[in-house]
């Protein structure tokens, strides 16, 4: 099974978790990663700028119609739902918040599951609410791979626990173990 996109959802504790996870990935990691992170306190912040210098991958904010490229990390822009189309370009929406969140992880996971099917890997990390659980289940339903951070490893465990209460993901583990899994997936993939 070849994975063409990795969709990551997180809220509270996410900035640190994402930084650690990215640092654990090999430099030649080619599968594009999309991060949907809630930012309750500062709605105007552009995460791609926050992370840009700290990562060994090119980092962009996901703007409307941008084409997804290999070896790149994208962040959902604050204030918009992020979606992805079948032609592997981003689209945005200002539909109502979901789980009080815009961007919502569920919204991105669902769109990604529809667009990528079995070629998608969804990852749910530390976070303070249930956003992402339902979306991750949809990813599994459409044949994608699902990874959840072990609640014991997560800074805030509500988000991983909500997923585990809903269904059994393919893998539950620490950030380090998740990084290994992703690296394995990348090896088995014929990513363009």
């Amino acid at each position: 099974m070849s994975i063409r996109l990795i969709a990551i959802g997180t809220s509270a504790g996410g900035v640190t978790a994402i930084q650690r996870l990215m640092a654990l990935l090999p430099k030649d990691f080619r599968i594009p990663l999309v991060v949907v992170q809630h930012l309750p306190s500062n709605p105007g912040i552009n995460l791609s700028l926050v992370f840009g210098s700290a990562m060994h991958f090119p980092v962009f904010e996901a703007v409307d119609k941008l084409a997804i490229e290999a070896g790149t990390v994208y962040f959902a822009p604050p204030g918009y739902h992020l979606l992805v189309e079948k032609d592997q370009t981003f689209s945005l929406s200002q539909d109502e918040p979901v789980h009080f969140s815009r961007p919502s992880i569920d919204v991105f996971f669902e769109a990604a599951a529809n667009a990528y099917g079995t070629h998608l890997c969804g990852v749910l990390l530390t976070g303070a609410n249930a956003d992402g659980a339902e979306g991750l289940r949809l990813i599994a339903q459409q044949g994608g791979v699902t990874l959840v951070q072990d609640p014991l490893d997560a800074e805030v465990n509500a988000m991983p626990r909500a997923a585990l209460a809903l269904f059994q993901p393919h893998f539950v583990g620490s950030l380090t173990q998740i990084a290994h899994k992703l690296t394995e997936l990348a090896r088995g993939s014929d990513v363009c």
Partner: protein, 286 residues
């Protein structure tokens, strides 16, 4: 629930043929979400069954349309955009004795009022004709009333100042019974009308077009059409402002514009693009 692509196709085609509203070139992923909530609202699991009901009872369409559009708006949204308008566009507008502005996709009017307030503070409101258009007739009606929940005034107050407002934000409305009623004089030179960017033609020559957070709902083909429509609707060196996460760089139209503000998405028609405009107007592919 995932939307069946064949049913979706037939549904959108049917709506277009019967009502003339063309959603066929909307961005799929977000339209799918809207279609899902439409199915929930009409308590059915099939777009085909729903289409049949709508075709039998066309009056239902009035309740369908609002589900297909997203009308989220905010006063002075992205306040820095309005600051940039003051800095880069207002000085040019000041050189005209009369000018025209088109707000495309005006929704419930927050953007039009913000613009009118800005123009008033620059002593330009009396020189302006503002055309505010949308496909959602209910939204237009609300926009033309200029009345909002008092609770939304918090955002207004906050954004007004960051947008470079120089007065007391509450100078422009009166509060009564939990509602904020904006000074009707602000909307005196505003013409509200229904206009569909997907199907309707150019109807003004504008010195400034604002179309923010509308293009994100369209696919690239439809975006290209709309950019063409704007190119053919802009006066010599006219300005175009789009949403902060929208971009013209994926469209062939980009070559006809120069970038005035990269981050805030303000563009101006290049002075040499008059021929392009004429070609578009005559239906020739530039």
């Amino acid at each position: 629930m995932s939307i069946d692509p064949i049913e979706r196709h037939l549904f959108l085609e049917g709506i277009f043929l019967r009502f003339g509203h063309d959603f066929r070139l909307y961005a799929e992923a977000s339209l799918n979400r809207r279609l899902n909530s439409l199915l929930t609202r009409f308590q059915t699991d099939s777009l085909l069954k729903l289409l049949q009901r709508i075709l039998e009872t066309p009056a239902l369409f009035r309740d369908v349309l609002p589900f297909l559009t997203i009308n989220t708006s905010e006063f002075f949204r992205d306040p820095t955009f309005f600051r940039a308008l003051r800095e880069n566009v207002v000085p040019v507008l000041k050189t005209y004795s009369k000018f025209t502005i088109w707000v495309a996709g005006c929704s419930t009017g927050e953007e039009v009022l913000s613009l009118a307030i800005l123009l008033k503070e620059e002593n330009l409101l009396k020189r302006a004709i503002i055309h505010a258009t949308d496909i959602n007739a209910q939204a237009i009606k609300r926009a033309s009333e200029g009345i909002y929940e008092l609770s939304t005034m918090q955002t207004y107050n906050r954004n007004y100042t960051s947008a470079g407002g120089t007065k007391n934000p509450s100078d422009y409305y009166t509060a009564e019974y939990g509602l904020a009623r904006f000074d009707p004089a602000l909307l005196e030179n505003v013409v509200f009308s229904e206009h569909n960017l997907a199907t309707d033609a150019a109807f003004v020559e504008a010195h400034l077009i604002l179309c923010r957070n509308v293009l994100i709902y369209f696919n690239r083909d439809l975006q290209d059409r709309v950019f063409d429509l704007f190119t053919s609707s802009l006066a010599y060196k006219g300005f175009l402002g789009i949403g902060s996460k929208e971009s013209m760089r994926f469209s062939p139209s980009a070559t006809h514009y120069e970038t005035i503000d990269q981050d805030l998405k303000i563009y101006a028609l290049r002075s040499d693009s008059a021929t392009v405009r004429n070609q578009i107007n005559r239906g020739v592919q530039p």
